[in-house]
Symmetry: C2
Subunit: 347 residues, 2 copies
């Protein structure tokens, strides 16, 4: 296992030249570089600004990197089986490369706090993998100037060009799930997607619209809703939609967790799945095949995505340029027991 | 956040004295101490033996510890929601202490491999938390000689006295689950417990026996089975037990995952839960309240256990002696929808 090879210091600036220009001492620049305390916010900002302006890149001759290579894996939120699939994928791929994995969460926030950034700068990992979150431009520069590469797993929104990302084909996931329901004969299909600010949520809804459009079916705007990926969101949306007289005959959920909420809402309302309501999940968490009915769901290869992100990170750390900076793994539909043709009376 | 204060070097031995006695150079001892390569197995064993004999303890004046404190959290296996609850508990408690968490898994093995030990020795964490696994005596000594404390979360078997452990009251969990079923009127109650080599599995079965004994009921040895904590084990045991003529009217599972397998087996056999079969899980994973029927289960406070283990580890790292080296958190029963009196004909 090799430590990261930094990119060329394009600006040819050194710690000494940064210190001179920012009018601080060399040890102060070193503290800023390594996320150590004892520097005022104003001084820190001035040093960061100079490093940025001069395109400073830490050289390989800097302080010794950590003796055991670490990969930082940061979640906006650690939740349920979903996160464990990603941890397993990263852990296995990192172990193959002789690296260990530091797991953090941002307590639901989509941008890391400075305390986390400082810890990362101080421990100097091989690289950073961000799950469903992204960096502020200034945070991105902080990592770049320390030659710490990062990869975003899925995307929390538009990323600047050149940022390495691994995702899955969300548009196709939306398309194949909806097409399956249309082919079964469903006409009133609802979609509960993830948060509206996530690209993945929007891509799935576009796939949903395309499948309806291709079948010549109208899109009912009132059957498109957004929520978090958690069980509660699926439950609450489904409760509201399923008590309506013109209730949908099928619901396409944004996650398997949401689908669990939908199944619970249906059971409480005395609706049998799939007889009275078809349900499609998203993610294909291993547990869903054991439900009764076993869940029809879009297979999102979380473990493989995590593994691909780690491999890409290791390439960047070795100073190699990955062939693609954006990889989308394929999604496909796994048809099980929770979908069926609608009752003739309900169409 | 302070780095670990090592215990007193009782033997007063030094790296130099170890090197002299083992007839190797000081750098060789240093390599062994820090898990670095370039030392033959035989030499490594000789150095370890001398350190052990002389009760060597690394002093605080050794090489600088990692600049960002790390806690090593190691699972015998990363699986599903169960692991994420523990990661969340450790991550939160470690973050409060300014430390980050390295997550590893032993691919299902209950003893760490040397490669993991070497990585731990090299990165010098504040301490190590082992989940459902334990160290060989020689591995335990390796950590002790480097002044790296460790805590075992739950126990994979008998631990030497003095090893810090955090668990939960498994015997009580078995008792309250079984008592609930007895009070509902069940007489043929099966128990699917965890692996037989785990203390927690045996304690739960003893609680199960005690509840039956207190009610004057016989224990049917053929209704006590063991398996892994995974869904498949619950499914397979339940399939076998539920096709019998004298099938149990209630099953007490060793984990919520096993209970999911039991629910699936019952559904496949056309048995309604709780009408035809009562099911009790173990763990109280958040998802189980959303099942239909919502699962009656023993609440095992995984996140609190993880947090308590981390706090204990931090105490040990500061050189403090925790008031108790073995903490068991309370378990209690959460009654939901998956348990009911047996059908009168089936008793």
């Amino acid at each position: 296992m090799t430590s990261p090879v930094p990119r060329r210091n394009t600006g040819q600036s050194t710690i000494a030249s940064v210190a001179a220009e920012a009018e601080v001492s060399v040890p102060t620049v070193s503290k800023v570089l390594n996320g150590r305390p004892g520097v005022s916010d104003a001084t820190r900002a001035r040093v960061e600004a100079v490093m940025r302006e001069r395109d400073f890149r830490r050289s390989a001759r800097g302080p010794a990197p950590a003796r055991v290579p670490l990969v930082d894996l940061a979640f906006h939120e650690l939740s349920s089986t979903w996160s464990i699939e990603i941890i397993r994928g990263v852990e296995a791929a990192a172990a193959d490369a002789g690296a260990s994995v530091v797991v953090s969460e941002f307590s639901g926030k989509r941008r890391p706090q400075q305390s986390w950034m400082d810890a990362v700068l101080a421990r100097r990992p091989v690289g950073v993998i961000l799950v469903l979150s992204a960096l502020e431009e200034q945070q991105q520069h902080q990592l770049e100037s320390r030659s710490i590469p990062f990869v975003v797993l899925d995307t929390a929104g538009e990323l600047p060009p050149g940022v390495a990302t691994v995702g899955s084909n969300n548009w196709n996931g939306g398309l194949v799930a909806t097409r399956h329901l249309v082919e079964l004969g469903h006409r009133r299909i609802a979609v509960i997607s993830g948060p509206e600010d996530l690209l993945c949520s929007r891509a799935r809804i576009d796939g949903f619209r395309s499948a309806l459009g291709a079948a010549g079916l109208a899109v009912h705007a009132d059957l498109i809703v957004h929520g978090t990926f958690e069980i509660e969101a699926g439950y609450e949306h489904a409760r509201r939609m399923l008590v309506r007289q013109d209730r949908p005959t099928a619901i396409f959920a944004g996650s398997d967790l949401q689908a669990i909420g939908v199944l619970r809402a249906a059971a409480e309302l005395g609706l049998a799945v799939p007889r009275d309501l078809s349900v499609v999940g998203y993610d294909n968490l291993p547990v869903t095949q054991w439900f009764s009915p076993a869940l029809t769901t879009v297979n999102q290869p979380l473990k493989a995505m995590a593994s691909a992100a780690t491999t890409m990170l290791m390439q960047l750390a070795r100073g190699e340029k990955p062939a693609l900076s954006r990889i989308d793994l394929a999604t496909d539909l796994v048809v099980r027991e929770s979908t069926a043709p609608p009752l003739s009376g309900s169409i």
